[in-house]
Structure formats: C-alpha cells, structure tokens
C-alpha cells in the first residue's frame, strides 16, 4: 500500500469518524446510538490497523484488536444488556434541540481545526491532518454529554470522547507506547463496569435513569 493511498484511506476513515460523531448527536433512538457508536469503534479500529500497516508498527495491531474487541463488541453489548434489563425508554431526550446542537457542533469542529493548525504545520506524518478531527470528536463527545438528559446517553458521549482520544493518539503520533495503551484500555474497561454498577445504583435510589432527578446538590442550600 503506498503512503499516498494510505493517507487517503485514513482521511476517509477520519471523515467517517467525524460523521459518526455527528450521527450520535442527531440520533434519537437509544439502540440507534449504540449502533452508531459501534460503527465509530469499527472505523477507529480499521484506521489504527491501517496506520500500523503503513508505518510498520506492529504494536498498533494490538491496539486495533483491543479497540475492536472493546469498542465494537464488549461495550455496546454491555450497554445493550443494561438498557434491556433496566427497561430504559428508547427515546433520547435532549436538553438543547438537535439543530442547535448540530450548529454548535460545527462551531466546535472549526474551533478544533484552528486549535490544531500550528501542530499540523510541524508534523511530518501522513496522518497529521486527522488530529483536528480527533479533537473535534473529543469536543463533540463533550457536547453530547452536556446536551443529553439520560445517564445512558451521557455514557455513550463519554465513550465517544474516549474514541476521539484514541484516534488522537494514533493520528498524531502513530500510537502511544504499548504500556500506556494497555493501561488506558484497562481504565476504560473498569470505567465501563463502574458505569454498569452505577446504573443499578441510580435505578434503585431514584427509580429512573433521568438525571433531572439528580439536582439536589446545588449551591443554593
């Protein structure tokens, strides 16, 4: 595979990741969110593998497989089971309406493009231009966490944010050292389990997964 073609494939994957990040903002059904999230993980994993192949870095294959296992199968499955078991309502409820969220999203993309512009000048890697996309994905995940009411959707936003971070690690630097990547993956896995425990705790204490209920701790007391 030539460098040029690899760069092109990578930018297509980057565009797809960005598209899925917007998809997460637009999607109104919870199962739909899970699907989009799984797709995002898949694109991420493929892009990691492509980078690993072109750069000849074999440890990237391990992180690609890790991503594939965690982000495409394990986490969506856990969430699916949780949603099914807790009988969560299947509609996403938003704080800010979808078109406005999308416009803010576009502004965030432009912002991250400007923020990463000086770095792009420096880098010599074929994947350098995807750093802006990675940062944008992080920002969009953050936006999703802010603008959605339910705990589940916040989690998906959080995981999408992590996807963006992983993508930043592969796109800006051809992957962090393996020890770090393994540690990060472990942390995410633990976090996912804690999320699971939390769902049950919130469910049993509040009888719903709506974060509206959680507004006791405010500063006005």
């Amino acid at each position: 595979m030539s460098q040029n073609l690899a760069a092109q494939i990578n930018s297509v994957l980057a565009a797809l990741i960005l598209l899925t990040a917007f998809g997460l903002l637009v999607q109104r059904r919870i199962y739909g969110l899970l699907h989009i999230f799984a797709w995002q993980g898949l694109f991420l994993s493929v892009s990691t593998a492509v980078v690993g192949f072109t750069a000849g870095l074999h440890h990237l294959y391990i992180s690609a497989i890790l991503t594939l296992a965690l982000k495409v199968f394990v986490l969506p499955y856990i969430l699916y089971v949780l949603i099914h078991k807790l009988k969560i309502k299947k509609e996403v409820e938003e704080v800010v309406n979808v078109p406005t969220t999308m416009l803010i999203g576009i502004a965030l993309v432009i912002f991250s493009y400007h923020l990463t512009a000086p770095i792009r000048e420096l880098s010599t890697l074929v994947t350098r231009s995807t750093l802006a996309v990675a940062l944008a994905t992080v920002m969009l995940g953050l936006l999703m966490m802010i603008t959605r009411k339910k705990a589940v959707t916040q989690i998906i936003g959080f995981l999408a944010l992590e996807n963006g971070l992983f993508f930043a690690a592969t796109s800006a630097t051809y992957g962090m050292p393996l020890v770090v990547e393994l540690g990060v993956a472990l942390d995410i896995l633990i976090a996912a389990f804690i999320f699971g425990i939390f769902f049950f705790q919130i469910r049993t204490t509040f009888d719903s997964l709506d974060l509206k209920e959680m507004e006791k701790l405010k500063e006005e007391d």
């Binding site: 770095i119 705990a151 959080f158 540690g183 990060v184 939390f198």
Partner: protein, 483 residues
C-alpha cells in the same frame, strides 16, 4: 527494592482485604498495610536523602526529593486515616449505614486508592501518571456512593463524570506531549519518561507544549479542584464517608497538583517563558476568592471544609505558578501542612457529626461540653487552617505572601482578601459548634483521637521550627522545579 515494597504493600493489602471482607480483623489489616507502606516510604526517603535522586533500571520509576516527600506524606496520612476509620466505620456499620459488602468494598478500595496515588507519585512515565490518576478516580467513585443515599449517588455520579471528562483532557495533553517528544527521542516509552523530557525540555516544540499545557491544566486542574472546574469536589467530600473525605482532600488533591506541576516544569523548559505560571496564578487566585466566598454560605460542615480545601489548593497552585525559590518552597510546605491539617479536621468533623447524627452545622453544638477532645481538636484544626501563627500553615502562607508581594503585588491583594474572608467565615461558623450548651440529642461515641493529635503536634512543630532535614528537602525539591 524499597520502592517495590512501597508500591506492593498497599496492593497486596488491597487483595487480602478483598478476601477478608467484613471480618473483625479487616480494619487491623488495613492499618497494617498502611503502616508497612509508611515504614517502607521512610526507608525510601532515607535512601533518597543520602544518595540523591534515583531511577530504576527500566526507567519506569523515578524518585527525587519532590515526589518522595509526597509519598511519605501520602503513606503517613493514609496510615492515620486507617487508624481513624477503624472506629469510625465500626460506628457506621453498627448504625447500619454500610452493609457487609460495603465494608469489604471500603477496605479493599481504600488500599487500592493509596496504591494508585503512590503509583502516580513514583512513576517516571507521563502516560502511567495519567493512568494512575484515572485509577485513583475510579477507585474512589464507588466509595463516595457507599451510603447509597440519593444525594450520595448523585455526588458520585457527578464526581465520576466531571473527573472522567476532565482527566480525558489530560490524556489529550499527554498525547500532544508525546507527539512533541517523539520528534526528539523517537518512538517508544523513552519519549514519555519524565527524566528524559525534563533534561531536554528546551528541544521540545514550544507551540505544541503550550497547547498541551492548556489540556493538562483543564484535566489535572479538575482533579485539583480549581475553580471553575471544582463542582464535583464539595459534593464528593460531603457525601462520602469521612475517612474518604479526609484522603480525598488531604492526598488526592495533592497528587493531582503534583501531576500538574510536573507538566508545568516541562512546558516552562520548552517555551522558556512564564506563560504556564501565569495561567496557574490566575486559576489559583480565582479559586481562592470563589472558595472563600462560597465558604460563607455553607450549611453542611464537610461541604464547608471542602471549599476550604479548594481555597488551599488555590493557594498552592498560585504559589507554584508564581515560581521562584521562595514561593516554590512555600508551596511545597503548604501542600504538607494543608494535607495534615485538613485530614485532622475531617477526622474531628466526622466524630462531631457522628455525635449529632447530622452534618448540618446549625445542629452541631457544644462539642467541648460533649467531648472536649473532639471540641478542642476541631478548634485547633480551624485555628491552624486559617493560618494562625503557631501552626505550620502560617509559615507557608507567610512565605507565599512575601514572594507574591515582591513579584506580583496585584495578585497579593486578592490573595490577602481571600484569606481574610476565609478566616472570618470559618471562625464564625465553627465557634458556635465548639462552644455553647450541648443539645440533648448529642450522644457519646468511641472515637480515635490519636490521629488528630498526632497531626496537630506535627503541625505545631512545623510552625515553630522547620527541621533541617525537611528544609534541605524542600530546597532540593524547589531546585528541581525552578530552573
């Protein structure tokens, strides 16, 4: 070898405690684990004190004056907290606020949390630093929700989400740092080792590091509890069990600040300017002021002292941002004295709220009548934390203030205003709690007073006279941080 014991003791204790569960000896094992860690850390400190900074063969661990002192502090406070929590948690267990599974979980996670903090302090790899910070968050999240009340679950969720998002920003910063370092050191772990990075910080790309610092500031700053990223902190401190509030406030905030300062050294080296310092000074000053004003409006006692922690972290951040040998010395001392004082305050506050079965300050009255040791413990603690002369906080704040007067007089004014408000606010709230008639709903409890008074004595010693070995230590650490 000593290093291995320092890290291993708490990890092994965590595993053992996970199996021991809710047996009678669990608290003793907890204390034993922390004591072993503390003894090992003393030996490690002696090694560093006599032999200078050391680095393991693999390069993954690195001990210098800065982190070894924090490790000793962490091990010490965790030990006294373990002693305190023995009786405290037994009381909670008897009242039925925590179940069997809860106790098992509490002990195991306590040790895991200590392990995560020590790992964060001792590692040389900036990536592992991030991982262990995240681990420290994860291990305490479910401790905050231990009581399973709606507000505890809410606080834990807030803690989890805000710190999770915050720390994710720090990972982005780490990626950027690695990106810059890779161009100097090439691929692999070598490019993330702090020793390598700090040696050739001037070769790192300044634009990238400036950007990275913004992310570090947001990320680790969230964990330090700097305003405006502090929202999780008062909730997590007020809703979790008191021993956890004590270690969160006394230790975790310090470790987060440690991470931030390590990053700042690299950024300063790369940019050759004081930009990062200014950012920290601004964040620090805002934290001092906002926290001081928020103190005044609190009704929950633990919440109030949580805001006091934000204030003091603001002071330390400000001092590190100010830079210079005096301010850095003051900041290091401040981290030490704040940690000791604040954890002892949380101990007495925990006892006081157990006596009254509430954390509402308006309902806690007449502590001196009910239990003089608790009452005077709180009074002394508050006197120490607001910076009254014979205690250590006075020394550190005085040092920082003199440095600020000289280098940044404008900031010094805000700094003083913040201190004065916090002083007045804390006293106004605490004096009615300590003195006055004891209400009829007050009950007697069996409490551990040793940790409180051990901390107080150390505080007093530090205020009156700084031992030579300690000041040598701080000088060495300050030299590391001020280029």
């Amino acid at each position: 070898m000593t290093l291995l014991v320092v890290l291993g003791a708490s990890l092994i204790a965590a595993v053992i405690l996970a199996f021991v569960g809710d047996r009678k000896i669990a608290p003793e094992i907890n204390i034993l684990g922390s004591a072993a860690t503390f003894v090992a850390s003393i030996f490690l400190a002696l090694e560093v004190y006599t032999g200078g900074p050391m680095i393991t063969a693999s390069g993954y661990f690195f001990v210098d004056a800065f982190n070894v002192y924090l490790s000793v502090l962490t091990a010490f406070v965790s030990m006294t907290t373990a002693v305190f929590s023995r009786r405290y948690m037994r009381h909670e267990r008897e009242k039925g606020r925590v179940g069997r599974a809860g106790m098992r979980f509490y002990h195991a996670m306590f040790q895991l949390f200590i392990f995560a903090m020590l790992l964060a302090l001792l590692t040389n790899n900036v990536g592992i630093l991030w991982i262990s910070m995240e681990l420290a968050t994860l291990s305490t999240v479910l401790l905050v929700s231990l009581y399973r009340t709606p507000s505890a679950v809410e606080a834990a969720w807030k803690y989890f989400i805000l710190c999770g998002v915050g720390i994710a920003q720090a990972l982005f910063g780490t990626v950027l740092l690695y990106f810059a370092a890779e161009r100097v050191f090439g691929e692999g772990s070598a490019a993330l080792l702090w020793t390598n990075l700090s040696q050739s910080a001037d070769k790192l790309e300044p634009t990238v590091l400036s950007l990275a610092f913004v992310f570090f500031m947001v990320g680790y700053g969230t964990k330090v509890g700097l305003v405006p990223l502090h929202n999780w902190l008062p909730d997590a401190h007020s809703e979790g069990p008191t021993p956890i509030s004590a270690v969160l406030s006394g230790l975790l905030l310090n470790v987060a600040l440690y991470a931030l300062v390590r990053c700042k050294v690299l950024v300063d080296g790369a940019t050759g300017s004081h930009k990062a310092g200014y950012i920290m000074m601004v964040f620090g000053t805002i934290s001092i002021l906002v926290a001081a004003f928020s103190l005044l409006r609190q009704k929950d006692v633990k919440r109030m002292f949580a805001y006091s922690s934000i204030e003091h972290m603001g002071i330390a951040t400000f001092a590190f941002g100010l830079g210079g040998p005096v301010a850095t010395f003051g900041a290091l001392l401040h981290m030490l004295v704040h940690s000791l004082t604040k954890s002892s305050i949380f101990f007495t506050v925990g006892n006081a709220s157990q006596m009254h079965s509430t954390q509402e300050m308006s309902l806690i009255r007449g502590l001196v009548k009910g239990n003089p040791l608790v009452g005077w413990g709180l009074m002394l603690g508050v006197m120490a934390i607001v910076g009254m002369p014979p205690f250590g906080v006075f020394t550190s704040e005085f040092l920082i203030l003199t440095a600020a007067m000289k280098d940044a007089p404008v900031f010094a004014i805000f700094f003083l205003v913040g201190l004065a408000i916090a002083f007045a606010g804390l006293f106004r709230k605490v004096i009615p709690m300590v003195f006055g008639a004891a209400p009829d709903y007050q009950v007697k409890i069996r409490a551990a007073h040793t940790p409180v008074y051990v901390h107080m004595v150390i505080m007093l010693i530090l205020g009156l006279y700084l031992p030579v070995f300690l000041s040598d230590w701080f000088h060495a650490a300050a030299r590391l941080l001020v280029k």
